[in-house]
Subunit: 515 residues, 2 copies
């Protein structure tokens, strides 16, 4: 039987991932090592992610700004702990001119900058510098800023959407008068990310706090949402940091309180990136390609007219167009239904499979018989197969149209339910010792990208060791290529002994292999 | 009498411009020379510009993509004519790591890139490279791509929004099978820019073709829209280029035609940038600050509650909030009315002036008397003064609400009409010789940024000299600091003799001082 891809998740998950990105026409590698070209279908997904997140960010009182791409080297140097964390792998601008020398275009040695400029790996320092000027009095607080931008972190080993040198993201930066206010912000953003991820991306996640050695450098607390991919690995899909007063101290962000004292602000930062698209692929894709949750599908209904270079083609096209017009008047996910009539030249059979690979939620095929009989023949991308055949269904036109909003909602919900079941069914909580943990996960594969047997995650009690004791746990986990993902927000009331230290547990954590 | 600014257009237009940008809280200089920080109010304007242009770009069949920030040096070198035009002033990334050496964070000399990377001054070459891979057959044409991005052109002398090293823009790039198709695209985009500028920005422009020496390097034809600022200077507000087959040839963008021949594509490119915001400021601002056309005002109605730390404050706030809720349910410019209750601490008189400076179209002040009497007291930003007093008007609440959409439309139209009258009244068409031209414009001012007397533009017959003859005209114009802006699309049927060559005119051109 024909399938959408020549790769399967089971045979090699990494190859399958690449095949989906390519065959769904989401993105491609660019001639610049480590940078990607996001193609229209992939960028359309990102635009929908942006639109809904931006709506939420604004609704919660944040304002968008734009800060410079370049950060002076001295800013990075100021933030010592910061630097440590970013591994110093950054793109550095050292010159501002090209010149033809000896008949060849090259960097003009005369045009060296006095101070090198770093291409922002994050805007933490440049925004902190602005905050130090913008915050004067308690009246200026809270200061709630967000930015949509491109950032660059030099990467040696890249994978489209998951790890690229340049990526697109949103970074929120806020300043508050008190720890309580800043912490409330940190957690309300975490909850926004969780809700967004589950509702809009249909991607279930577990929100929780990172262990201290996984914190954003300089942060007092780092929270994340973690999603389970179909190979059982965890993907950190968003982070929210409470930075305490250390960034404010390094960057001199102070305010005059109501009583007149000059006081350090408490700051936060938080972000999600185009990595989310990688998460969507690995949560929902199947061996026929991508499956997009309708809420982020650039086209929710694609109509493929079956044309045969015959006189009846005209009636088929008119029928398809009229159907599209009616569908576009409907509402799904609080916006007009996004519908396309695929008029590009080409065989309808091939076009059907193109849209299967791209993951359009509803694919409609309209031929002369449908046009004549007032029917619609369609496939649900989430239920493509029925006993080894593509499940193509015919319905009366009016009934089909009436059902589209509910059907899109059902697809969205079904995809979420399926992923949620996978997540919760694959968190083991019956593993009590490190040996059991090692036995469960087995040795780390030679090639971590090739498929390893699906292992899921382990949830276990944790005594929250610190410093060297925590490093020791991390080292042991690393031999199994495991990491602590987070301590989920939802915790039981009592805990068994810590899997690692044997001491009384104070919380539970998730342990997994991860991207 | 109190005014919003301490600067006037008449005293020094350049100082006035800076004052508006600062006092309207639009943007500020950043610690990185030449780069700006776009603040929430300024970025809000940009988001509205983006949203409407993006809607139009998509409605005309274009798709958004994202291409890498970095362009390999070899790509720039390939495009020789291209390089010439960009004056080679570009930010160049030469290293990918920072390191602590001798206790100091610096560029790691070990981490030099094999090939330097240029921060995109435009994405022409990197998109051309993608097109060479994406275009195979006539079936792939037209290929209609747009990108929203940041670009960098190293500038020595910068001015916020008008000329900065980094700026935000949209760049369209398209490939077509025939010259006719590509030219139709070029002109339809020009018309889109004109209509957008006039309808959405209320900024009248004249669309036309640039003389050959002002073309985008390598282009066969360059078109622009030109707007008249309140100092009489021209601002090029958008460009659309027909690139012929030269870019396709340099970048190998070919397609197999229906008859099987391998044929070069005809390509176009076009863009507008954050410079448009500079145009809006200099078209609509006055000596009290910015005046925003309602279509791009982040808040169209701002309600300032007059609070006195007294028990009746609560009623005033409740009244303001209820008013805001009702207004937000109304529609203006096909979107919900954007309304804000300004609850920030501070005196209402100061807040009134803040919103005057920021250019909010309708500023409402609500005090205890209004709340008790069911009234609304408001100012129209476009009609702020009545015989040296701020024209504050009271209306019954229901009547005010009912009138808001029409009033916003009237403000938008009034601002456009005012600017259009200024434009057309200040184009002289009765100047026949170069001496008269020199006498009209007078000598070039020492400080071109300080105010010079308003001169407007001159429209004159033009014999379209080429090559050296054109250079000669350009040199003569340069002594007066004048340039040819464009040859307007709308032309008469007959022409007098050319002002410069005395030869028979073949079209009319606009001559002006310009930004």
């Amino acid at each position: 039987m024909q399938r959408g891809l020549n790769a399967t998740r089971e045979a090699n998950f990494a190859d399958w991932y690449q095949a989906v990105v390519r065959e769904a026409d989401l993105a491609e590698n660019s001639p610049v090592r480590g940078s990607m070209i996001i193609k229209p279908w992939g960028y359309g997904v990102w635009e929908l992610i942006q639109a809904e997140l931006d709506r939420r960010i604004k609704a919660s009182g944040h304002q968008n700004c734009y800060f410079p791409l370049f950060v002076p080297l001295s800013f990075i140097a100021k933030e010592a702990s910061h630097v440590e964390g970013f591994a110093k792998e950054m793109a550095v601008v050292t010159h501002h001119r090209l010149a033809v020398i000896d008949g060849k275009l090259q960097v003009d040695p005369e045009a060296e900058l006095e101070e090198p400029l770093v291409v922002r790996p994050t805007s933490e320092t440049i925004i902190g510098d602005a905050f130090s000027r913008w915050v004067r009095s308690y009246r200026d607080l809270p200061l709630l800023i967000n930015q949509w931008a491109n950032v660059v972190r030099w990467e040696m080993r890249t994978r489209l959407f998951l790890r690229t040198s340049e990526f697109l993201w949103q970074e929120g930066h806020t300043a508050h008068a008190t720890e309580a206010d800043a912490m409330a912000e940190t957690l309300s953003i975490l909850e926004m990310y969780r809700d967004f991820s589950e509702r809009t991306l249909a991607m279930p996640v577990i929100a929780g706090e990172k262990p201290e050695n996984e914190r954003f450098p300089g942060a007092d607390a780092t929270y994340s949402i973690e999603a389970m991919m179909q190979d059982g690995k965890a993907l950190q899909a968003g982070t929210s940091h409470y930075l305490g007063t250390s960034f404010a101290s390094a960057q001199n962000i102070r305010f005059q309180s109501e009583t007149g004292e000059l006081t350090l602000c408490h700051t936060t930062s938080w972000g999600v990136s185009t990595r989310l698209i990688g998460g969507v692929i690995m949560t929902h894709g199947d061996d026929d390609g991508l499956r997009l949750p309708p809420a982020i599908a650039p086209r929710q209904v694609v109509i493929v007219p079956i044309l045969r270079d015959k006189p009846e083609d005209e009636a088929v096209l008119a029928y398809a167009d009229a159907l599209a017009v009616e569908l576009a008047e409907l509402t799904a996910f609080k916006a007009p239904v996004r519908v396309l009539v695929d008029r590009k030249p080409g065989r309808s059979g091939e076009k059907r499979w193109d849209w299967v690979r791209r993951g359009a939620p509803l694919i409609v095929e309209v031929g002369p018989r449908d046009a004549a009989g007032g029917q619609v023949t369609f496939m649900r991308r989430d239920q493509l197969w029925a006993s080894e055949k593509v499940a193509s269904v015919s319905e009366a036109r009016a009934a089909f149209i009436a059902e589209v909003p509910a059907r899109l909602a059902a697809i969205q919900q079904g995809m979420f339910d399926e992923a949620k079941a996978r997540l919760y069914e694959n968190i083991r909580d019956d593993i009590a010792t490190f040996d059991q943990l090692a036995a469960h996960f087995g040795p780390a594969a030679e090639d971590e990208d090739a498929n390893v047997t699906f292992k899921g995650w382990v949830r276990c009690a944790w005594s929250k060791p610190s410093g060297e004791a925590l490093e020791e746990v991390t080292r042991r986990l690393k031999t199994l290529r495991l990491t602590i993902r987070n301590a989920p927000m939802a915790q039981p009331k009592t805990f068994g002994p810590c899997l690692f230290t044997g001491e009384p547990g104070v919380e539970e954590i998730l342990v997994a292999r991860a991207y």
